[in-house]
């Protein structure tokens, strides 16, 4: 007993400084966070062919996360709890479960910032490395390891990382995926060199190197058939098949590098980044040994009231994942990010045929003009009028055969040859669009938009590289807002999509009543009146209601969701058709 008391005393004495330290530590700190819950109750729908058995009896889906960040001075720690019970329709069933897929601790001393745990990082525009997450897509390729950012001298920013990437809920063990190492530097010359600080021309150079190590246990084998014939003594032709089995010689390490420059002068800004990737046979490129190449550039000129933008992109064989056998949907274990070059549209029918990057080769171009006709001019009216004209194009690149015996993308070969920045004949995507926005009075605002889109369905959705399923569409949008008083407003959207292909014509209608800053109600209908299949001429109606209370937001929606691709940043997720009730709660604190 006596001994017990003394041990308790010692323990108390030992704990005391810890307690006071901990209190001190916590008293200066702050916990913040945010939460989002999306819950869907699915119902059967004869028109859409949805029954309990097509739903696998999963009548309820819920995706949710809660994010917590603790900050105290230069120290930050955080965690994200996620749950998918069951994953909502359109999310991979492998997400089912609950857990903490993201946590980190970060400390900054002087100009060094160290992160341990999970982190997101981007080098340049991301052509060889970008970790990011997008909740609505179910996309998360976070790195788990160490990340450092260091500025040894003014104008110089260095970054380094080593980590493994998230794969659903599967922990990293026994080399079940690759390890990613990367290093990056940015050099802002106008900050580095005193004589340049006043210069009107600003120059920034940067470069990065990334390497992936993957343990190759059993190199896969593949067989190649070659046909030949012989003629026998009787003059008959005999056909033979010569079947050979080869083993792929897969690299353990796949490196990539990128260099970039940004030059700004007056209203002109020019950015270019070039990237190369070493030989990387993988499931996306059919296991060819060819190296990858990419270039991405943007040029803009702007002054008050006028903005011009031109961007080009050329990529060849640039899928780069931390597991070579990984491919398809959902996109997982991506080390890099290949931005889609088309514009992301805010109106629903204009996003019916969206573009997503083809990593095995594409040429892209985008141009945009934003012009504001000044206020109080004859055309501009009292409040000014703004006009946006945008054009984007994505095409194939030229691919030539190496020899006649190697067909394109043939496993175990160099695949094909291409010359840098060559443009092929096959159209993947084209979008010409114009939007005019005008405020007529304090009460009335209008937006009118027109889109002309060409969508190569075979290429974009099925990776079949031909032009046998092109969808040509014209889309018109009218968006009117009427403000009754400072709190009450009514918004109306009318949209039409006209095409002779695919599912035919659509009309959409939306009426939204807002009471600022708390309430909104809306009725929406997308009607596929031109569907060649009479049974599929369906109304996709929706009723929504929302309530904001500071940073809490509740939204309730009942109706039909049409099948389609939901895209954010050029990465898309297929969403199947469904009917039901959706409840969304978001909150920040």
């Amino acid at each position: 007993m006596k001994q017990k008391i003394s041990s308790v005393t010692i323990l108390l004495l030992m704990l005391f400084p810890t307690i006071s330290f901990a209190q001190d530590f916590l008293s200066g700190g702050k916990v913040t966070g945010n939460v989002q819950l999306d819950a869907q109750f699915y119902s059967e729908d004869d028109k859409l062919g949805i029954t309990d058995s097509t739903l696998n009896y999963k009548k309820f889906g819920m995706n949710g996360f809660a994010n917590f960040i603790y900050t105290n001075g230069n120290f930050t720690a955080g965690a994200r709890f996620e749950g998918y019970l069951n994953p909502m329709l359109g999310f991979d069933p492998r997400y089912e479960g609950v857990g903490v897929p993201y946590w980190f601790a970060k400390y900054k001393v002087g100009s060094l910032e160290m992160t341990a745990g999970h982190f997101y990082e981007q080098f340049g525009s991301g052509l060889i490395l970008r970790g990011w997450e997008e909740w609505t897509l179910g996309y998360d390729n976070n790195f788990y390891g160490f990340n450092a950012r260091f500025s040894p001298y003014k104008g110089i920013m260095l970054k380094g990382l080593v980590g493994v990437q998230r794969y659903f809920w599967e922990p990293y063990e026994n080399s079940n995926r690759g390890i990613v190492r990367g290093f990056d530097g940015d050099f802002y010359f106008n900050d580095m060199i005193d004589g340049m600080s006043e210069s009107k021309t600003k120059l920034t150079l940067g470069g990065s190197f990334v390497s992936k190590y993957e343990k190759i246990q059993n190199s896969p084998t593949y067989t190649v058939d070659s046909n030949y014939y012989t003629i026998n003594d009787f003059g008959d032709t005999i056909n033979w098949v010569n079947q050979k089995t080869y083993q792929l010689n897969l690299p353990h390490n796949v490196g990539s590098w990128a260099a970039r420059a940004n030059i700004a002068h007056g209203g002109i800004n020019f950015y270019v980044e070039y990237a190369e990737k070493g030989n990387d046979p993988n499931a996306t490129n059919d296991y060819i040994y060819k190296k990858g190449q990419a270039i991405y550039s943007t040029l803009s000129y702007s002054r008050k009231g006028l903005g011009l933008f031109l961007s080009t992109k050329w990529i060849d064989n640039m899928s780069y994942k931390s597991k070579l056998t990984e491919s398809g949907n959902p996109a997982m274990l991506d080390i890099n990010y290949l931005p889609a070059i088309s514009k992301e549209h805010p109106y629903s029918l204009a996003t019916m045929y969206p573009y997503a990057t083809k990593p095995n080769g594409e040429f892209g171009l985008q141009g945009q003009i934003v012009y504001t006709i000044p206020k109080k001019s004859k055309l501009g009216g009292k409040y000014g009028t703004s006009i946006t004209v945008n054009y984007s194009l994505a095409k194939s690149i030229e691919k030539d055969t190496i020899t006649s015996s190697i067909t394109g993308d043939m496993t175990g070969t160099d695949g094909y040859t291409t010359s840098f920045f060559s443009i092929g004949d096959l159209m993947y995507y084209q979008d010409i669009n114009v939007m005019i926005e005008k405020k007529f009075s304090k009460k009335v605002k209008a937006k009118v938009a027109y889109y002309n889109q060409t969508y190569n369905k075979n290429v974009i959705e099925d990776d079949i590289f031909d032009d046998h399923h092109m969808v040509y569409s014209n889309i018109g949008v009218l968006d009117l807002t009427y403000k009754f008083d400072r709190r009450n407003s009514l918004r109306m959207e009318l949209q039409g999509l006209w095409t002779k292909e695919d599912k035919g014509d659509w009309a959409a209608f939306l009426l939204e009543y807002n009471v600022s800053p708390k309430w909104f109600f809306s009725i929406q209908d997308e009607f596929n009146y031109g569907n060649p299949d009479n049974d599929m001429q369906i109304h996709y109606y929706n009723l929504s209601f929302g309530y904001n209370q500071g940073s809490n937001r509740f939204a309730l929606r009942y109706g039909r969701q049409r099948e389609g691709l939901l895209c954010v940043g050029g990465v898309c997720r297929y969403v199947p058709a469904s009917t039901g009730l959706t409840l969304t709660i978001t909150s920040s604190f």
Binding site: G126, N262, Y371, T372, S489, S516, G550
Partner: protein
């Protein structure tokens, strides 16, 4: 032994709870390295307005309500600045796909407020933003005192009311 552990935890918890109720500020504006409109490095510690309130809003070029919010604020921004001394920072979360379009968009639409770039959502994560638009009001000491999710026609009037309350030292309780 268990009791001591419990006591320790309770004290820690008390410390945490106590520290939270000490100030009216929601949280301090975090220090995060992002970029300015020209793509040069910018630390959020440099966000300042000579002790006057700041409006900070997260947006993207593809976000319809964000563009509405900015156009509405731009119409009254000059008056706001004259009357209250407020300054607005609009943080774009456009990624590599569209972040280079932000500068010509901002100029082309003649927006007058400050614009920053957060191309890999580092600040967005640090400030617990789910989706844009998400608007914060920061007082003269760099404390976030109010936040609001979404944009409905007319919400900008709520923002400037809050700014006026912050200037007058009034309570922001609803």
């Amino acid at each position: 032994m268990k009791k001591i552990l419990f006591l320790t935890l309770a004290m820690l918890a008390f410390g945490a709870v106590y520290s939270q109720s000490e100030t009216k500020a929601l949280f301090k504006l975090p220090s995060v390295d992002i970029k300015d409109l020209n793509g040069d490095p910018f630390n959020t510690e440099n966000i300042s307005n000579d002790g006057n309130p700041i409006i900070m809003t997260f947006w993207a070029t593809w976000c319809k309500p964000c563009m509405k919010e900015h156009d509405a604020i731009n119409d009254v921004y000059e008056e706001w600045v004259e009357e209250t001394g407020v300054k607005m920072y609009a943080v774009s979360i456009d990624n590599a796909r569209s972040s280079k379009q932000v500068l010509p968009t901002v100029n082309g639409r003649s927006w007058e407020f400050e614009v920053l770039l957060d191309p890999n959502s580092d600040l967005k994560r640090a400030m617990n933003v789910n989706v844009p638009p998400h608007t914060f009001i920061i007082n003269g000491n760099g404390d976030v005192v109010w936040q609001h999710v979404g944009y409905l026609e007319g919400d900008e009037l709520e923002y400037i009311e809050i700014v006026e309350k912050v200037i007058n030292g009034e309570s922001l309780d609803h």
